[in-house]
Assembly symmetry: C2
Homo-oligomer: 441 residues x 2
């Protein structure tokens, strides 16, 4: 047995982070003979794969969130703690939340990752990312606010800038945002304005690599690109943003330097580990990769600390292929399940073979009847892929919570292109969205 404690006291598992990794670890420990403490900064789990639909007005934040306390209401061995872990002491087996000290027998760190601005952190304000509910509300404010500003604008050049959307990053989030904005501009909002023609909207997707959706098969990447182009978006591959200033994005495509004037830049690129990665590195001497993710052992532990696990986006697990597993929900989910199982095995003096990710495939939604699904053995596109995408998400949402009616409502809104949740909120008296940048910096 690799971890143990006082025989009279149940084994104490502390999980930091209530995303997919932490949530599934806790869920699979709900009936184990352990005490579980789940710590999160927020009081809800967020179904992040659908966050882009909050940003584009199809869903409300409440539709894709589950209160953590409600999820574990019936699991009497599980305690939810709201707060931010400030430090850990791996020798003393303690987690610190400011003054509060929480002892553990086993620690599971699942605090995820953020976008990376590649060293240009001041771009964050002008080009917001999409990781939190607040991010999504802010994106929604900017997207719908841009159409409103365009409607009011009399100068044709400025109007053009308001009707130009630049998306940085060609992964699932960037692609799904581009598709959703295209549907908004070219379909949903078409009849809503009197001074502008929303079909004049320009949507640019800038991708660093040589194809969008690099995690799926190249032929599906191509299908996705064609679908996006058909919807009206413009894709630039092999493209790197070099400057953002005075409403102008400068980017390098190959050797060529290009510029575009826009009022709305949305960021969906890069990976940067959350702060817990740094804390773990300092306290355990574990190695991190260039993005700050913790390089984990084959059983997801931290080197030299068999009772500290890292799961989900914060973990760099490279034992299965040459490169780390992608930062997607199924990986985090399976890792959480694995860790929960291993903890229970260990309590009985057993162990488990190393973690193995069972690839469930990749999928991305582009728009109505347009999606790509790569299951390895089968590749889908068009309506079939779209229907599959919808079914998979309905399945996960139901598994995850019994929000049956929400799911139907969502599917209904999605199918009928109803964007009822397009409130511009967060500032008392909305008049005009903040321009992308008001000066040089």
């Amino acid at each position: 047995m690799e971890v143990s404690g006082d025989k009279n006291k149940p084994h104490q598992v502390v999980i930091v982070g209530g995303g997919f990794g932490g949530l599934y670890t806790a869920k699979h420990l709900a009936k184990a003979n352990v005490n579980v403490t789940l710590i999160d900064k927020r009081n809800f789990h967020l179904f992040q794969p659908l966050l882009y639909q909050v940003a584009t007005g199809t869903l409300s934040p409440g539709d894709i969130s589950s209160p953590l306390r409600a999820v574990f209401s019936k699991s009497k061995n599980t305690q939810v703690l709201l707060g931010e872990v400030s430090d850990i002491d791996p020798k003393a087996q303690k987690v610190m939340m400011g003054d509060q000290v929480i002892p553990y027998d086993t620690l599971v760190v699942a605090t995820g990752a953020n976008h990376s601005y590649f060293g240009k952190d001041d771009w964050k304000d002008v080009a917001p990312g999409l990781k939190t509910v607040e991010d999504a509300i802010e994106m929604r404010r900017r997207i719908f606010g841009a159409f409103e500003a365009a409607e009011k604008e009399t100068d044709p050049e400025k109007r053009r800038a308001w009707l130009t959307f630049v998306l940085v990053g060609g992964g699932p989030t960037g692609v799904e945002l581009a598709g959703a904005i295209a549907e908004l501009a070219y379909k949903t909002l078409k009849e809503d304005f009197r001074n502008i023609d929303t079909s004049e909207t320009r949507i640019l997707l800038l991708q660093g690599g040589d194809r969008i959706l690099p995690h799926i098969a190249p032929e599906l990447s191509e299908v996705a690109a064609q679908s996006l182009r058909k919807l009206g978006a413009v894709i630039h591959t092999n493209t790197r943003v070099t400057n953002i200033e005075n409403d102008t994005v400068t980017f390098k495509q190959g050797g060529e330097v290009k510029e575009i004037t826009t009022k709305t830049i949305l960021w969906a690129a890069g990976v940067k580990a959350s702060a817990m990665g740094q804390i773990l590195a300092e306290r355990t001497d574990v190695e991190c990769d260039h993005a700050g993710r913790v390089i984990v052992e084959p059983n997801l532990t931290v080197r030299d600390y068999k009772n500290i696990f890292v799961v989900g986006d914060l973990a760099n697990f490279s034992h299965q292929a040459m490169k780390p597993l992608p930062g997607v929900a199924p990986v985090a989910k399976q890792q959480g399940e694995y860790v929960a199982k291993l903890i229970q095995k260990r309590l009985k003096g057993h162990t488990l073979p190393q973690f193995h990710y069972n690839d469930v495939g990749s999928l991305a939604m582009i728009g109505q009847n347009l999606a790509v699904v790569d299951l390895g053995f089968i590749k889908l596109q068009g309506f079939l892929a779209w229907a599959f995408w919808l079914l998979v998400h309905i399945y996960f949402l139901i598994e995850f919570d019994t929000k049956l009616l929400v799911v139907f409502q969502w599917a209904w809104n999605y199918i009928t292109r109803n964007r009822r949740s397009r409130l511009i909120t967060g500032r008392e008296a909305f008049v005009e969205p903040k321009p992308v940048s008001s000066g040089s910096h």
Copy 2:
């Protein structure tokens, strides 16, 4: 014909405010031979009677909002303008939005009212009201944040303060909030915490007058008070808040001065007209009442200006009874319909008899199977009133928008007491809600 314009140009109606009054004016002009410009600060209409359910976690803001542009998408004579009216010029028949000047033939002002802090405007931060989506999100943050803080608190006195909720104002909003918080504390959240017993929660409703819900029949008031007490709330009538300081609310009940320590004070009292009331008074010399509401003529116009109407909460219409009509949705709705009709009559050289409010009754929800309905000819209470309340709101939500599935979802959540929308949002890293007051002021 009392108003006219260039025979070649359609009559120009400018409506300020997209609440019930403005919205129904515009809706009933959608097929008229007029041009309508609807101005609002926000891009959505808010179904305010259900806002307290956003504040208490049953609904998401998107569930009770309709994008104004979507509502008027098909009404090609109607233009939605986003912005804030800064001034009007009744002689030149112009409305100003900063630099922008919008001419009108007929002006309809429907900018509503806010809560009044009876001169103590610095209480606003410690005792937020409930008028906007942001207000509701902030209230939700405070309510659910208080339970979280109590769960963490080890000092019994402080914990007691976190579990004490003081509601100021015994009108529908105060009563409905008190009922919803009681259901949260004593039912929904009962199993969710590990350190606190949420049934120890204290809920105080402070009412200035001698009974809660003064707009309904006294016997129903009494039923509502009994229902609230049965749920666990404490009601103090004839009570006036005299001070809020250091987490302590001081109030006078009769001659007696009492104090209660609390971390959460919610404000649902008083009426204060929106800023347009002041602007109208200055520009047209119209008389306003003590709350700043415009005292309107029997046909809802402003004295000396037959082409300026005031409808809804901003209007003081006292021609039907001895006192002004209540500030409720049905009044605003009927006034909007009346004005739309009168404008069309006038265009044909006709007029209408004075406005008459057709009282559709009053109702208030207290909790599961607990409501009061006063239709004048019939008075309902208990389950019947509750079912009636639900039906009426479903009817209005459907009439108002075809969100059938939302309505079912909402009814379902409501019946099953599911509080899925209890996200604490709005601050990046939630740790602890701001205490009511941190010092004297």
